[in-house]
């Protein structure tokens, strides 16, 4: 498309004056700037996700593992003391043939990964619970695994219906300091997210 535009502009008048050529270049630059796509985001991969009935009570628990590496920009940020917020989102739908799927339940888990340069400790917090880590790798390893996360109650499942569940993990960029939020603008990539991953809802869950 751009090339076509260039051809169109260049083909318009071969005997163009320098001013006109300059003007054309400016137009072209503006066009490129406007249509250029944002840089590709770093990905989080959902390696595994499994729902199972809790040992006690009526809760359904989720075990999941993710695979990702922190881009160096984010690593720098963490080591500079900037906390990162990772959000794991879970959604449960009931399929309806006559209408949009019905959202039955949803759960969100927020991890806060921070580093204290004074104590040289990484901390991974989940609510009030905080775990100290000596190294970033250990903290990330802990972050990559979620186990025994109660995502919904059993009664959210409708017997006899087909259900679908999905899961994703992303870096909550809205909690980042503002200049980091404009990765798309500044050309730096601060986004980190996974696709929605389907989690099989086995019939054994519906009792």
């Amino acid at each position: 498309m751009l090339r076509a535009a260039v051809l169109l502009l260049d083909g318009a008048a071969p005997d163009a004056s320098p001013i006109r050529r300059l003007f054309r270049a400016a137009v072209l630059a503006a066009g490129i700037w406007l249509v250029s796509p944002p840089a590709a985001a770093e990905r989080i991969e959902v390696v595994s996700a499994e729902l199972r009935t809790a040992a006690e009570g009526d809760g359904i628990e989720l075990d999941a593992s993710f695979d990702f590496d922190l881009p160096w920009t984010l690593e720098d940020a963490v080591n500079g003391g900037v906390p990162l917020y990772f959000v794991i989102e879970f959604e449960l739908y009931r399929a309806r043939w006559y209408w949009f799927d019905e959202r039955r339940a949803g759960a969100t888990l927020t991890y806060r990964l921070s580093y204290s340069p004074l104590t040289r400790q990484y901390r991974l917090s989940r609510g009030t619970l905080a775990l100290p880590f000596e190294t970033l790798g250990a903290a990330l390893a802990s972050l990559r695994r979620v186990s025994r996360w109660t995502v919904f109650e059993r009664n959210a499942l409708v017997p006899g219906s087909r259900h679908a569940a999905q899961l994703r993990m992303r870096l909550d960029s809205t909690q980042l300091p503002r200049p980091f939020q404009m990765g798309a603008v500044t050309g730096r990539d601060w986004t980190l997210a996974s696709e929605w991953k389907n989690v099989p809802v086995g019939p054994e869950l519906v009792r």
């Binding site: 406007l34 040289r120 200049p179 980091f180 050309g187």
Partner: protein, 765 residues
Amino acid sequence: MSSLIRYSFVAALALGGVALFLLASSASSTATFGRHYPLLLAINGAIAAILLVFVVALVARLVRRFRARRFGARLMARFAIAFALMGVLPGALIYIVSVQFLSKSIESWFDVRVDRALESGLSIGRAALEAQLADMSAKARAIALDLAEVPESMQLTALDRAREGAGIQEAMLIGASGQLIGATGVRPADWVPELPSATDLQRARTQRQLALIEGDPLATDERASVRTRVVVAIPTLGGAAAGRSAGGDSGLAEATLLPRRAESRYLQMIQRLPAAVAANAAALQLGYRDYQELSLARTGLKQIYTMTLTLTLILAVFAAMAGGILLAGSLTAPLLQVAEGTKAVAEGNYRRVREFPGNDELNELTHSFNAMTRQLSEARDAVEARSRELENARAYLERVLANLSAGVIVLDRGWRLVTANHGAGRILGLPLAAAAGRPLAELAPEFAAQVDAAFADQTLATMPNESWQRQIDLAPAEGGEATSLLARGSHLPLDDGPGFVVVFDDITQVISGQRALAWGEVARRLAHEIKNPLTPIQLAAERLQMKLEPKLARDDAAVLTRGATTIVNQVAAMKRMVDDFRHYARVPPPQLAPVDLNAFIEEVASLYGAERAAAGDAPVRLELAPALPRIAGDATQLRQLIHNLLVNAKEAAQGSPSRQPRVTLRTEAVRAADGGVQAVRMVVEDNGPGFAANILRRAFEPYVTTKPAGTGLGLPIVKKIVDEHDARIELANLGAGGAAVTVIFRRLVDGAGVAAGAATPAPAH
């Protein structure tokens, strides 16, 4: 089109202003706009693109006009360039300065010394913590050694004492499997024992001790605050020795005293930072974090600010360009209108120019221009009307002059003809219309000489009049007769000096009429004087004859009788002549009454028909037009008129013996252009020899006759009667021999002629 562009331009500008404001505030503050920065950026970009399209369209239009050399494009281009430059150059300057300033100032934040100071602060903090940790470790080991010698049941009390002695905040005894045995120390209200994990215990076991600096200075929770924690195993005999040797400290002497045994208990000691130090540490870490944050984001920040500034510049530049062009258009529009109007006025077109609302000087200009053209056009119209009036007046004057029967000629000082009207040419019998510029002496020498003399006399006179008047008699041309002119002359200043104007009229007819009048008077007096003695003369002669005849001899008596008879006869003839005179002189005023001319003519002609049979002379043929309107006439006088004409005609006809004498009397209606009867014409024709040329013009004067026995009063009487009837009489010779006398009666009683007749002053019937 233009207003649409203008409105959309203003709208885009307003939108751009709002978007720019939002963009700027989002770039510089942490408000909620910050999240929408990319969107705002896109909106601003779109507005910039729209403005660009505007600018391109406007520039293209301007270039097109310029190329087409349209009127005013040059001025508009100049204005537009000036305005655009005025907008663009300061904007670009501010932009460059701002960007430089911005990147410099952002860079200046990240000073190496600041960086190092922060790092140093952290190091100091850490060093302090580590010193505290080392101190605490030593104390912990010492306490552990002390505790090792105390029975297990007494250990907690001993620990409490030792803790207070060492100045440690928290101390606890922990079992081998990590369970809490006892705790002592200053503890917060909702204290939860912070137990070491299995790995901690493992590490404490293998490394003899575990010394940790824990917590987050920024944590709000007191439990998560920065603290040093030391876990050491409480040695039991051998264990203590092992611990000591492993610790590498100075306790080698006691090692042998203690039995070697697996540690069954651990001592954990926790020392929190004092509140003031903790606050400073928090501030330090917060500052470090912010600094790092900014440091990491500085490129991005710079880009954001630069982008915002760039976008602002682009918007401002485009707005300035578009605004410049539009402003130039609106500024130059009144000027162009006025300029075009001036051009039109120069070509004589006084159309109005478009007026612009508003009361600045430029718009006022259009208003005043229109006022001016209006006044100009009014003035021109007035002048045109005036000149048209003058033209009309002159044309009217010329028409009057042309149709004047009198002759008017204008001469310059060299006696050359300047102008002459139609009448002058007719009277003088010369084609004067084409003779302008020729000397009058060349055209009409006799007339010129007399006029010259008249002007000369006027100048010689002691009291020169403004004009002169005299009668000029011109010698007859061959075959014609003498003409009398009454001429008046006066000086007439011409454009190129003095001139003369001469007005003259042909008064030959007037003189002839005067002569006839004079004759009438003479005849009347003579008749009166002559008639009085005639009767006594006749009576005396008859008396002489009666008295003397018987007394005289036959011869003498015969002489007397002859003489007396002669006297009586001559007296009778004289009486008749005198009567004729009297008739001529004293034709009484006609008693006008409606007369059917045809019937009247038939009646009169019947007399001649009877006479004809007796005398065998010329027959009178009547050709009478039917349905003639009646005329107003005096029957007696009309009879006399017809009688005289018929007698004349018959005599004339008999005068040509070569032909069969013939007299025709014809009547016909004279019709006007609209078809109505205007007059009645009566023509008497004969086939005699016709009028002699010298007679023809003076036939109506008394005593002009060709007949041996005529009195010469027949036609004068006819003329008089005709005049009394307000009719006209014409004499003409016919081409084939013979003469025609035409009488035209204009006074009609009925029909369309009544109106014509009423126009002339006629006595009532």
